[in-house]
Amino acid sequence: MANKSTLLIRFLGSMNLAVTLLVMLAVASVIGTVLKQNQAFQDYIIKFGPFWTQVFDSLGLFHVYGAAWFILVLVFLLISTGVCLTKNSPKFIKDMKNFSESLSLNSYKNQPYSETIALANFDLEGAKKILTEQGFKTKIHQRKDGVTIAAMKGKWNRLGYIFTHSSIIIICISALLDSNLLLKFRELTGDLVAETRSVSLNEIPKKSWLGEDNFSFRGTVNVAEGQKTNVLFLPYERGFLVQKLPFSIKVKEFRIEHYDTGMPKSFESDLILNDPNLEQPIKKTIRVNEPLYYKNYAIYQSSFGDGGSILDLKIYPLLSPEPNSIEIQTAISRVEPLKTPLGVFKVEFNDFRAFNIIPTTEAERKKTGKKTHNNGPSITFKVRNEQGKAWEYESFMQPTLQDNRYFFMTGMRTSSAEPFRYLFIPVDEKNSSKRFFKFLAIINNPIKIKKLLNLYIPKIDSIDNKTYNLQLQLFTKLLVLFRKKGFQGINLFVQTNIPKEEQEKVKDYYLEKTSLALQTLYLSILYQDEQNKDSISEFNEQWFEDAIIAISSLTRYGPAMYFELVSFKQIDSSGLQITKSPGKDIVYFGSSLLIIGVFFLFYLRQKRIWLAYSVTDKSLIVAGKDSRDLPETKKEFAKMIAIIKQKL
């Protein structure tokens, strides 16, 4: 009579449910790895469209491992294993102890393996010895009509079942202790709200703070060299929570070492941990794979970054008619407002890198024999206008070698999904950018253009004054066009203002005149620099070409400003990860139990042999049973029979 509750128990402890749950867990895990978890909502909408994003989100697919149904599967797994364990354990423990020495002769004959041998005399001690030699434990039962030896080995196999299944329960429960289930609950009750803005610590509302009583956590914090912290940031849902620590940690020094390939070799921090309860602060150096353990906290070296390196910058206004620049001092992670004639901008200084080690090209490797070279320090920063549009830059401090010439290299992009497009400013003979900005300022200055052209392209006798003036005016106009949109600008002008038949001819003429004007202005600079007037060096010729390319691409380079890194003082920050995980040691205990259990299960077989001698029949029943029926079970039984036949 199976009533409802026994049916339920049977269902919960059934193998079908167990395997179904195992497979469900596997499938959920697959989803969790294939669908990138915990991304920004925007990214999902871009990827799947609003409809599917909605559907996936309501199924919890973006946080599978925290989804209610996932937890439910886990809970059912626990129940199922638990039911199975409580149902089977008593049976198994009994089975471990029980030699079944007092069964009837018939039931021995009905064992999976059984053979009856005619035997005149039974040597009890001899038989016992054979079994003991084979590793069996024996128990002797005297019957009226003879004697039974019951033998068993590998009884721990049964323990394997108990070990593996209880370990699963232990591991899951202790892992739940370390999960953020409690936080989830507090969030549901409205007690806790994740902070999603990036604001300073004292602007974060109380509802996003966690006290020292928080049971378990895992978070990160970046601490600049020389600074200390007593809080931690826990990533939570789409924001973060602030965890208060019962101690403070100071990063006295951060060190990083590199391989010759530029890869980080090791990084480490000298920490000073100060707890009011401690007489002496704890000093310890931590590195990757070598954390600091304190009470039930563990402090790990997890990353590194910039801790607010100080930068001296020169800002060149790219449209200025005079070669001037302003100098500012700032630091990484600061935001500087910039008032310009083009509007107010905000400059966010994001990152500084002291080295940029990149692999060498084939040709370079032949020449220098080195596998990598260092492109020197660089900064990344964003320029944001009043409407919020941002241009991101990556700017190198030292000139870089490209096609055998050196350039100041700056990359720009308007979305972090794009690669940087680089602007190459050629260095002058003094290895500086000075001539470039001087040249640029002249091109920006129509009055100066006119003056210089007047000076260097004097009126010749064959044309009259008016024509000459018109010519100068044309030159100036072409240069303005060029400065605005590069050679493309002149093309466009021709296409919109000149009748179709003449476009080709006029374009050629204009381009020739533009080149002539640019060359003339360039010459004027060279003359000022007191270069050799009769012949222009190859370097200077090449410089001109590179400068023209750079100038004509300036317009695609965002707001008309150029940031030059002049000097810096590097300040590192150490990325610390701090955890409190009370379940960890229990998980390890459970895991050990699991491993031992698995090996008991697979490498021990519980084997039984019975020798039941009947004095009346003068026969010996040899019976055998194995917890797992394998091909060798049969062979081993045959062997046993053979030995018994031979020795008894």
């Binding site: 790895t33 890869m263 980080p264 394998l630």
Partner: protein
């Protein structure tokens, strides 16, 4: 009578104090002691523990499996020869472009090429042995397989040394990149197979198992020639840990055993299919019985499951130390769990429900797909904390 002879033969085999056994123990102990003398100063407490534990397990496994002794002697001999030859060229890495011995035989790159060639050849020979029904050809295949495994191990040993020769700072055990673990995979899979070949006394499955090893070799060659993956790179800080020395090998015993199970499953399905159509086919006759294959699948999966469990637990412990959490649902971690769950389900169905035969063979084969994704697919398609060996 034959059975009794067998029993006695087995009993005499386990003579602890034969010269062979004593030689073996002395060999392992002196080798480990020498290693400790030479590079003990580079080892931390745990690594010395690992050295001692490896010595003890090698002694035990060697006692248990005789053939491993001879293999170890050869591997040690050739590796020492290679190290000595490098020393002759004043320990410059360019010796592998100058010394004849290194270029053609035992620089790590040469040894790995020999391994690759021998494994592919072994696969072909095993298949020829099935179709020609020649016992001799079968023996040749076995010798080829052993030699391939030997060269693979020599390649790894020498690569270990070479990493220190190239740049002392780069030095590390060669189980850290995708390239290196593919060698480990090929060698371990082959060795596990060879063990079962001796135990089951059949060579008919060799071709099938070496098929998956040859696939690994093909990948290895593509990876070498197309991506220059054989170039020895320094370790990222997260991998600099004694954990790597135990976590990775345990993992690959698991992967190797699962692969063998899958290939036996394949052999099972083919044999089953052919015998349905033509029960007297000579192919079917030269294959082991379906029961034997079924049993071998069970044995290799349970072996793999044991080691995979150890590897996953060790991985969690390492993660706790390197990343600050024993479980982060990182794709590699999660896929290890998926693989584990899959085989746990397989074992449950077999042990409790008593399923046998074709469905289990299919499942073992599909299990290989899951395993391969965990091993390779995760690195190719999913990004995560396990940043080594991206394709």
């Amino acid at each position: 009578m034959t059975i009794i002879n067998e029993i006695y033969k087995e009993e005499t085999k386990i003579n602890l104090f034969s010269i062979k056994e004593i030689l073996w123990i002395l060999f392992v102990l002196s080798g480990s002691f020498f290693a400790w003398l030479e590079v003990g100063n580079l080892m931390d407490f745990y690594e010395i523990g690992i050295l001692i534990a490896s010595a003890i397990s090698l002694i035990l496994v060697g006692k248990f499996w005789n053939s491993l002794k001879m293999l170890s002697y050869w591997v040690a001999g050739l590796s020492i020869l290679a190290i000595w030859e490098y020393a002759n060229y004043s320990n410059k890495i360019t010796a592998n472009e100058e010394s004849f011995l290194l270029i053609y035989l035992i620089s790590s790159q040469a040894a790995i090429m020999w391994m690759s060639a021998l494994f592919v050849l072994a696969m072909l020979t095993y298949f020829i042995a099935i179709f020609s029904k020649s016992i001799y050809v079968g023996k040749v295949a076995t010798v080829l397989t052993w030699s391939g495994a030997m060269f693979g191990l020599v390649g790894m040993m020498v690569r270990w040394r070479e990493s220190y020769i190239i740049n002392f700072e780069y030095g590390h055990i060669p189980v850290s990149s995708l390239y290196e673990v593919f060698i480990l995979f090929s060698v371990l899979t082959t060795l596990i197979y060879l063990y079962y070949e001796q135990k089951t006394k059949t060579k008919a499955l060799g071709g099938f198992v070496m098929l998956i090893v040859s696939a690994a070799v093909a990948f290895l060659l593509w990876y070498t020639f197309d991506k220059q993956a054989h170039v020895i790179q320094p370790l990222v800080p997260a991998l600099k840990s004694y954990w790597m020395k135990i976590h990775v090998p345990a993992n690959f015993i698991g992967y190797g055993a699962f692969s063998i199970a899958a290939m036996v499953g394949l052999a099972y399905l083919i044999t089953n299919k052919i015998s349905q159509n033509n029960p007297n086919s000579s192919f079917v006759k030269s294959m082991p019985s379906t029961e034997e294959m079924d049993d071998l699948m069970y044995k290799t999966i349970s072996l793999g499951f044991g080691f995979f469990t150890i590897a996953t637990v060790l991985g969690a412990m390492w993660a706790a130390e390197a990343w600050g959490g024993y479980w982060s649902w990182d794709p590699k971690e999660t896929w290890a769990l998926i693989v584990w769950l899959n085989y746990a389900a397989w074992l449950h169905i077999r042990m409790s429900k008593g399923w046998r035969g074709a469905p289990m063979a299919w499942w073992a084969l599909i299990g290989l797909l899951v395993t391969t994704f965990a091993f390779l697919g995760v690195n190719m398609f999913l990004s995560g904390l396990h940043s080594y060996g991206e394709l």
